[in-house]
């Protein structure tokens, strides 16, 4: 662990930026159809319980990283193996996010630029930030949060003024309740809400431990509302069919903005949001992996790990899928079931049970 502290408000901002980043852009919970916003809200509420699990674990060992307390909970061999698996999970997630952002930038703005070069540029910025440590990540977050907030408000205003919103597109309400529940529990719970598991690596840096619960729940709530609002907005502007077909519904929404024949083609805002969000998500994941590896392998300067692990993420992001549809399918069908479900839900719950009994005895 490095000697650094972040404040509650910085954590709040980091959590919001982290969760919003790519979820804001993709058709989140679209399998729930018109009620995708509802699926998001449900997933958000469930994820607050999930967070309580992480938080309870943190309360047992407030000064330790998860990779350290796993060792205490289930023994040296198992604990270390599990911690290592978690690091791999973080790296893999980082690679997936990086790939997503690389492809998004390519399809939107730079079709002829090689993916590798684009990803390399993105990861180099991430590596530099992670090299500088969590405090820098947090402070960058504060800075960019303002930018993103203003852009978001601006967009909302523009969409509202252009009179694109057609609430009737959201009706009928609750056409297929089973689908909503299914989507909430099989997709949306894991991305983006379950992904806060990586923040367990950052909780120990918080300078006011008691504010954690309030801050995090507030952050999750805010994210959930923003995301639900965004999806509802997308569907009400584009209609369900177009939202389903769009790879980036928010982009299509932004592209339909026309205000007074001069405020058009504001797509560039989308690219800005995309880069800011992607940068934070990859940074936090890589930071989690770096700090975990450092504590697991006893490396005195964690910052020295930033570059090598960044390169691992870069190369992995290239080979993680042959093409973008395959990448998406993997993210919808395989990855949640075999990686996110165990790492985000099952293992933390099991660990909490073990921790509960272990601490009861003494």
């Amino acid at each position: 662990m490095e000697k650094a502290k972040i404040s509650a408000s910085q954590l709040f901002i980091l959590m919001i930026l982290f969760q919003l980043s790519n979820s804001l852009l993709i058709p989140l919970a679209i399998n729930a159809g018109r009620d995708s916003w509802l699926a998001i809200i449900i997933a958000m509420i469930v994820s607050i319980f999930l967070f309580s699990v992480y938080q309870a674990l943190y309360q047992y060992y407030p000064a330790l990283l998860p990779t350290d307390y796993m060792e205490k909970l289930i023994g040296k061999v198992f604990g270390r193996t599990l911690a290592f698996l978690y690091i791999l999970f973080f790296l893999f997630s980082a690679a997936r996010v990086l790939r997503e952002f690389g492809v998004m930038l390519l399809s939107l703005a730079f079709p002829e630029t090689p993916l590798f070069v684009m990803s390399a540029l993105l990861i180099l910025v991430v590596v530099y930030t992670v090299y500088k440590g969590i405090e820098v990540v947090a402070r960058t977050g504060e800075l960019l949060f303002v930018v993103m907030g203003l852009l978001g408000l601006f967009l909302l205003l523009l969409i509202a003024i252009s009179g694109l919103i057609d609430i009737s597109n959201l009706k009928p309400f609750l056409e297929e309740p089973s689908k909503v529940i299914k989507t909430a529990f099989t997709e949306t719970l894991y991305v983006p809400f379950g992904e806060i598991i990586v923040f367990t690596m950052i909780f120990p840096y918080l300078n006011q431990a008691r504010k954690l619960k309030k801050t995090a729940i507030f952050a999750i709530g805010t994210t959930g509302v923003i995301l639900a609002l965004t999806m509802a907005l997308n569907i009400s502007v584009l209609g369900l069919a177009l939202t389903e077909r769009a790879l980036f519904p928010l982009l299509s929404t932004i592209q339909s903005i026309e205000v007074g024949e001069f405020l058009e083609r504001v797509d560039v805002i989308f690219v800005l949001i995309l880069v800011i969000g992607g940068f934070f998500k990859v940074s936090v994941y890589v930071y989690g992996a770096v700090i975990g590896t450092a504590s697991l392998f006893n490396i005195k300067e964690p910052s020295r790990l930033a570059y090598p692990l960044g390169m691992v993420v870069l190369l992995l992001s290239m080979i993680v899928a042959n093409n973008y549809p395959q990448h998406l399918q993997e993210g919808l069908k395989v990855f949640p079931l075999y990686a996110q479900l165990p790492f985000q839900v099952i293992i933390p719950v099991l660990l909490l049970i073990i921790a509960f009994f272990k601490n009861k005895k003494t």
């Binding site: 791999l88 090689p114 993916l115 590798f116 790990l305 090598p308 691992v312 395989v334 075999y338």
Partner: protein, 74 residues
């Protein structure tokens, strides 16, 4: 050196995991082995960037290794 070793080990494991996910998606092995194909079609500038990045990766451990050896000699 240790850091490089760890990173390489992780990369190999992760590449294996990525292959595993492809298998779970229902592709057969021969198609999966093409999974490295995003790295096949590389133009000169791309290759330059790749080589440069790897060079930086190796340079630092090598330097610190050489420094240590010099100190030992003293």
């Amino acid at each position: 050196m240790k850091i490089l070793g760890i990173s390489l080990f992780m990369f190999i494991l992760l590449a294996g995991i990525s292959l595993g996910f492809d298998l779970l998606q229902g592709f057969n092995l021969s198609t999966i082995l093409k999974t490295f194909n995003p790295l096949y079609v590389m133009e000169l500038p791309e290759l330059t960037v790749l080589c440069l990045l790897i060079l930086i990766l190796i340079l630092r451990p090598v330097f610190s290794f050489l420094q240590k050896r010099q100190e030992k000699k003293r």
